[in-house]
């Protein structure tokens, strides 16, 4: 296991690394060997159980296990052994590892099989109804993807949807500022603003998309008529349809960003702002030069998380427009959903998703780089 260092990551934390180690002294040699032994025992046990199950599953050994749960429990035991051994061998360094170990082990364990299996599926031609089963078909899925007009259409739509995240961010920030102000009934407003996020996507699709916006009697349609739009049709024109869809999604998710930004605003140190006020700074200056830069880390988190969820938009599209009209509102996720569920084209759909995953990862990485650079410029 690699060693951990106690360096601080950026200039904000000015404490030298030596202080913590000195306070607790070094690790005893007896502890180190005990740690090693515990780890070895745990690993051996896990490998043994897993091997036994593999042998049993492939028929080599006649023991019949009902399921793979023994391996699962052996893995849990191994995780505990790992943690204990880390603490014993590295003392405080080990305790630090212990913080991140449960989450890491949990995530790795849950996703390792699905990821590998998923990647395998992506390179097959698996259709659940195909009578000859599935075969590896190399890069065929990729070639099909390259020529699939539905895919490129959906990708273009995603560009539009993601660009609107900035607009949603601005609105959410404004709302967070409003909520942070000294107002009466703050509790009421906060809870009220939170409610849209709590409505399930199915309810949103039906109650808003189909009921509120219903072309003949829905309140929104009537409102549109009152505003002067004679024949309100929210889902016929491609651009109007896209705007309507993203409006519904934004309605649900803006509270998400509001919460994050509000928590961030609440945690801001007050003395800095008071000092600025005494110095005579205007409201806008205080905001732009003090509040906003301090809020940048939280803003980045909010935007990145929101973007990721936006890129997964599917529920509302599936239930309200089925990707229509003529594919105008289709998202990659809803397209994958159709391919996977309605057409059982499991292999191809998984490939689309994996390609999308790569694209999104690249995009998010770029986004973070740009954001980091911007943050460094501002601070």
């Amino acid at each position: 296991m690699a060693r951990r260092e106690l360096n601080r990551r950026d200039g904000h934390r000015a404490v030298s690394s030596g202080r913590i180690e000195a306070a607790h002294g070094d690790v005893l040699p007896g502890q180190v060997s005990a740690g090693n032994w515990i780890f070895r025992l745990g690993s051996a046990f896990f490998v043994a159980v897993a091997a036994l199950q593999i042998c049993s599953a492939s028929g080599v050994v006649p023991i019949g296990f009902g399921n793979w749960q023994p391996t699962m429990f052996a893995f849990l035991l191994w995780g505990v052994a790992l943690g204990v051994s880390q603490v014993l061998k590295y003392g405080d360094g080990g305790k630090q590892t212990l913080f991140v170990l449960p989450a890491l082990l949990f995530t790795a364990a849950m996703v390792i099989f699905p990821t590998i299996f998923g990647l395998y599926i992506a390179f097959t031609d698996w259709n659940l109804n195909a009578q000859s089963g599935h075969h590896i078909n190399g890069l065929d899925n990729l070639r099909t993807l390259w020529g699939d007009s539905y895919f490129w259409n959906a990708l273009a739509n995603m560009v539009f949807y993601v660009l609107t995240v900035l607009v949603q961010y601005v609105i959410a920030f404004g709302l967070a500022l409003l909520l942070n102000a000294d107002i009466r009934g703050r509790k009421f407003f906060r809870v009220a603003f939170l409610l849209p996020f709590m409505l399930s996507p199915v309810a949103v699709s039906w109650m808003i998309g189909k009921s509120l916006m219903e072309n003949r009697f829905g309140p929104l349609a009537n409102f549109a008529r009152w505003l002067g739009w004679e024949n309100p049709a929210f889902f016929t024109d491609p651009w109007i349809a896209r705007t309507t869809i993203i409006a519904m999604d934004a309605w649900v998710w803006i509270p998400f960003m509001v919460i994050l930004l509000l928590a961030g605003l609440q945690a801001l140190p007050q003395d800095v702002k008071e000092a600025a006020k005494v110095d005579g700074a205007s409201t806008w200056q205080t905001f732009w030069e003090i509040t906003f830069p301090l809020m940048l880390p939280v803003s980045v988190t909010a935007i990145v998380l929101r973007t990721i969820f936006e890129l997964k938009l599917a529920d509302i599209v599936i239930n309200v427009t089925a990707g229509g009209p003529g594919g105008a509102t289709d998202t990659i996720s809803s397209f994958v959903y159709r391919e996977y569920r309605d057409r059982s084209n499991v292999g191809y759909a998984t490939m689309i998703a994996e390609v999308y995953l790569v694209l999104v990862i690249i995009f998010i990485m770029l986004l973070l780089k740009v954001a980091n650079r911007y943050m460094q410029k501002m601070t």
């Binding site: 601080r8 990551r9 934390r13 404490v15 202080r19 913590i20 306070a23 009902g66 793979w68 699962m72 305790k95 590892t97 212990l98 991140v100 449960p102 989450a103 890491l104 849950m110 996703v111 099989f113 990821t115 299996f117 500022l177 409003l178 942070n180 703050r186 509790k187 809870v191 603003f193 409610l195 996020f197 709590m198 409505l199 309810a203 039906w206 109650m207 808003i208 219903e214 009697f217 309605w251 919460i259 928590a263 609440q266 801001l268 702002k273 008071e274 006020k277 005494v278 988190t301 998380l305 997964k312 599917a314 996720s333 994958v336 996977y340 499991v346 998984t350 998703a353 999104v360 990485m365």
Partner: protein, 312 residues
Amino acid sequence: MTSEVAAHAVVEEPEETRAAPRQAGRVAGRIAIYALLLVWTFIALFPIYWTLSTSLKLGRDVTQGHLIPWVDFAPAWKGWQSLGLSPDTIFETSNVRDEFLKKFINSVICSVGASAFAIVIGSLAAYGLSRFDYKFGPWRNRDISFFFVSQLILPPVVLALPFLVLYKELALLDTRIGLILVYTLMVLPIVIWVMRDQFDTIPPEMEQAALVDGCSIWGAFVRIVLPMALPGMVAAFILSLVLCWNEYFFASLLTGFDAQTLPVMVASQTGSSGINWWTIAALATAAIAPLLLIGIFLERYIVMGLTVGAGK
């Protein structure tokens, strides 16, 4: 706006002479604030009100777009009846209500369980990522964070078959614990990212002082840092709870009988024999009610951060 208010006590006295135009500006500002708040409140609440009122409507009222009960239409209990929750059915045995309550309890267990579990291991991981420099092979903190967040990106539909097979082999199908594990996986990245930001804004001097005094890393974390990070934790918990509560895809995929949750019930209200608007609306209202209560109850903990952060 915030700064105005915060500086209220400090600044107002010496500037009484310039109070009049200042007052007018402030009044205008306050009116603007309230106006904007009310506009957005209306936007946020109207669809929810619509859902609630639809649960009291009969078929015809729904399709006629009537707005206000007792004014536009006569409220009826049909929606709540179909759940066994209307005044006339609430004290009788009702198959539907039993189903509803069973799914409700399952939803509660899975959402709260997953969110709590995610908060525990997520906060720990976030603290570690915020305070310490990890180096697992070539992986550093940023890579670890990214690993967590990348779990969010893949559309869940693509994991359907792998998870089905995995859970079948592990005998976790149709179990609540199985669903809790999946949900935890789903919300863990959010918890980690939110908490990491929260910990980043708490200066390490606090724990340093405690450590010098002889506290262990663990003690410093629990007694000093955690209380200060409470607003973030509450925010993350609420978000996780809501996401788990409304999650439909894995719930419908991995459960059949024992562990079914509410969203699955909502989905079955539409089919080829019609749309039960009143039941969808009643279910949606019943589904949002507990979340609302939790929101009301936990809201004050978000506020707590104000006093904690300021008092140094």
